[in-house]
């Protein structure tokens, strides 16, 4: 067993840990966020290394991409927000805000040591448990293999995701919608200035947007045979939405009413209706009738992609329209 792959793995693991440590403890917030995005990317590599291509895609698109975007947007809102809301406050208060930010970042030394010790003990326990689990075990892979053809898709992960454990996915979509509702309940969308965006961004977005939409459509289709699927496609679509938003494009006022909400709700609604409709054909809940599995899954995936894209874009914008 050659040493090379082990070495690569070790290097990857160490960079992971180092990036995490730096991200969490760097004094400047912006650098912390950027390091976090880098961590996401390296993690994507690790997933590829572990042959979990699907997860890699999701990790990069969602973990690094969308989360990164959200963090940066939040950071942007934090800095100017400080100046915007309290113009009345004098300058030193702002500096005071920054200084206290640094000084108080760390709890007292003794407490931190104690927590560190506690965590070490906890990790040792976990490590021992993981050590026990090191023995090779097939888990449910061959069971999935055996029932794959009944599931209506060729690729096992999508089969698990949308058929065997479709109930989880339904709820997952609900979580996304819930997060959006939570965000909208907390604040209204910041009023975008209608000054013209720089020409380069406008041109780039006009070029990239259709490409992204195409990639999203392809991802949805390929999900049945290879890594891909609704979530990855959705995140790409979301990214397209973010790009358009940044380049100053806005939905017309009438569209921000119930139509937008319908799109947002579409994914969950379609999945739920199909799940319930099959009961009519005396199938168990979410059990697609034998012939119908493939088209049903496809329909669900399409609807899900659309609503995930819309939700991610809305999440990035922040407040309710």
């Amino acid at each position: 067993m050659s040493l090379l792959p082990l070495a690569i793995d070790l290097v990857l693991a160490l960079t992971l840990l180092w990036l995490a440590w730096r991200a969490l403890n760097s004094p400047d917030l912006f650098r912390a966020v950027v390091l976090f995005i880098a961590l996401g990317l390296v993690l994507g590599l690790v997933w590829v290394r572990l042959d979990a291509v699907d997860i890699a895609l999701a990790e990069i698109a969602l973990g690094a991409g969308v989360t990164g975007a959200l963090l940066l947007a939040a950071l942007a809102k934090l800095q100017p927000a400080a100046s915007q809301t309290d113009e009345l406050q004098t300058a030193e208060l702002q500096t005071a805000e920054l200084q206290t930010d640094q000084a108080a970042v760390m709890a007292p030394i003794a407490l931190r040591l104690f927590i560190a010790l506690l965590l070490l003990a906890f990790l040792a326990g976990l490590g021992f448990a993981v050590w026990q689990l090191w023995v090779p075990a097939p888990g449910l892979s061959n069971l999935v293999e055996a029932r794959l053809d009944e599931s209506g898709v060729a690729y096992p992960v999508t089969a698990v995701l949308l058929n065997f454990r479709g109930y989880d996915t339904l709820l997952e979509l609900a979580v996304l919608l819930l997060a959006l509702i939570g965000v909208w309940s907390l604040s209204t969308a910041p009023h975008l200035g209608d000054e013209e965006p720089e020409p380069a961004l406008a041109a780039l977005s006009r070029l990239l947007a259709p490409l992204m939409i195409l990639v999203a459509a392809y991802l949805v289709w390929v999900g049945a045979y290879a890594p891909g699927g609704a979530f990855q496609a959705g995140s790409v679509l979301g990214a397209a939405g973010v790009l358009l938003r940044l380049s100053g494009w806005r939905l017309s006022l009438s569209a921000t009413g119930w139509p937008l909400r319908l799109v947002l709700v579409l994914g969950v609604a379609v999945f739920a209706f199909i799940g319930l409709a099959v009961i009519g054909f005396d199938q168990p809940l979410l059990g697609y009738p034998p012939g119908w599995a493939k088209p049903a899954i496809l329909a669900i995936e399409l609807a899900a992609t659309l609503s995930i894209g819309a939700i991610l874009a809305a999440l990035f914008i922040g407040g309710r329209p």
Binding site: N163, S185, P284
Partner: protein, 497 residues
Amino acid sequence: MPMLLNGADWATALVFVPLLAALACFLVPRAADWLGVLAALLILLATLGLVQDLLSDGPLRVAVGGWGAPLGIDLWADGLSAALLLMTALVGLGVSVYAPGYFAAHPQQQRWFWPLWLLLWTALNGLYLSADLFNLYVMLEVLGLSAAALTALSGSATGLNAAMRYLLVSLLGSAAYLLGVALLYHGYGTVDIALLGQRIEAGAVATTALLVMAAGLLLKTALLPFHFWLPPAHGSAPAPVSALLSALVIKASFYLLLRLWLDLFSGLGGLLAALLPELLGLLGAAAVLWGSVQALRQRRLKLLIAYSTVAQIGYLFLGFPLAGVQAEEVAWRAVLYLALAHGLAKAAMFLSAGNLLQFAGHDRIADLDRAVQRLPLTLTAFVLGGISIMGLPPSGGFVGKWLLLESAFTQGRWGFAIVVLLGGVLAAGYVFKVVGYAFTPTEIAQEGEAVPLRMQWSALLLAFGAILLGFSAPWLWPLLGVGDPFGLPIAEVGAAR
């Protein structure tokens, strides 16, 4: 009509009705009010259907998608989950009837309350029915997020601060739970509780998983050391929301811990399986005493009720040491009774606190100016709820306290018996402190604004529910026995129905 629908359909309805209602309320906010109430009624009907089905032909196992246990996700409904579902349905109906009245005064909150609350309800019903660990994780996540969002609904500084802390705590809790699920999956190859129950055996993996999951769930159930987030969250949330949080949300994570303990870990044996229940019992006892003393000290009504929740949660954990050794049924049924009674009573108390807040504009206990005479229904609801919290007869709380004492005395655990009694006395202390001030006038008479009858009656009906629970043994007792939830973990595999 019920003849047509069998148990599986009721279970499906229980999860999908609130989900679809949530979507509808999100789509058409103007119609949210009556949609919400309609959904609440349907859910109650579904719960009763399920209960009737369980009573007639035993526990229900539904294979979602028809794939069966190891591969697909199963729904499992037995006495334990049916009882909690019934409580959720009743409290949910009460709060849904109360909410339109309350949010009439806060229109912008009303628009977001309904979708969040119905999603919370979906998560609750899904959690009580699910028999799959990862599915439970997703339910927990939905629950945590919606509860945090609801807490932040009031938009006040303290509300947001509390909601933030609550969100972080619940995220950490579910992350720990997920870690436990990962360990169990890779240790024993399945995430279905029934299968796990058979495959699990004492070892490092099982012990670590138990510890991690227990820590996560204790964090979300706010047992004593981890209770710091509960009082500000429940205290500063809008009244219907704090009622939901106290009565339902913390019960979900407790139910999960109970389910894991009963079906997976109680049979393990070994040092930890003996030590953990004792530890939980001690923490529970400390919670009862510390929570009650804190509640006595409070000067604001909602914080008092929140600390009372911390105390009552302590009662639930007393069940572990008392039932630990011989896995005796009485202690667990006591805990169930206490949980149900607390749910109904605490919801009634928070709703009446909401009424008082809306009436007087403040909830300082000392300045309840002759509230008994000006808000008789609300005070009656508060007192009836208080009676159940104190465990005075004829309430459900009394039956729970009686069974707990019975199991304590049969096993000779004097310490726990004394704690239970002392808890009851302290509870009487703080409930009647409030009632005492409700009788006396303040120096300057305060005029109050009218509180719609709908709000007062919903609080009162919930309180009556807590009292009638005391008389409900003839049909509740057999229900608790369905599927022998408290027996040793030998549930049968995959016999889908």
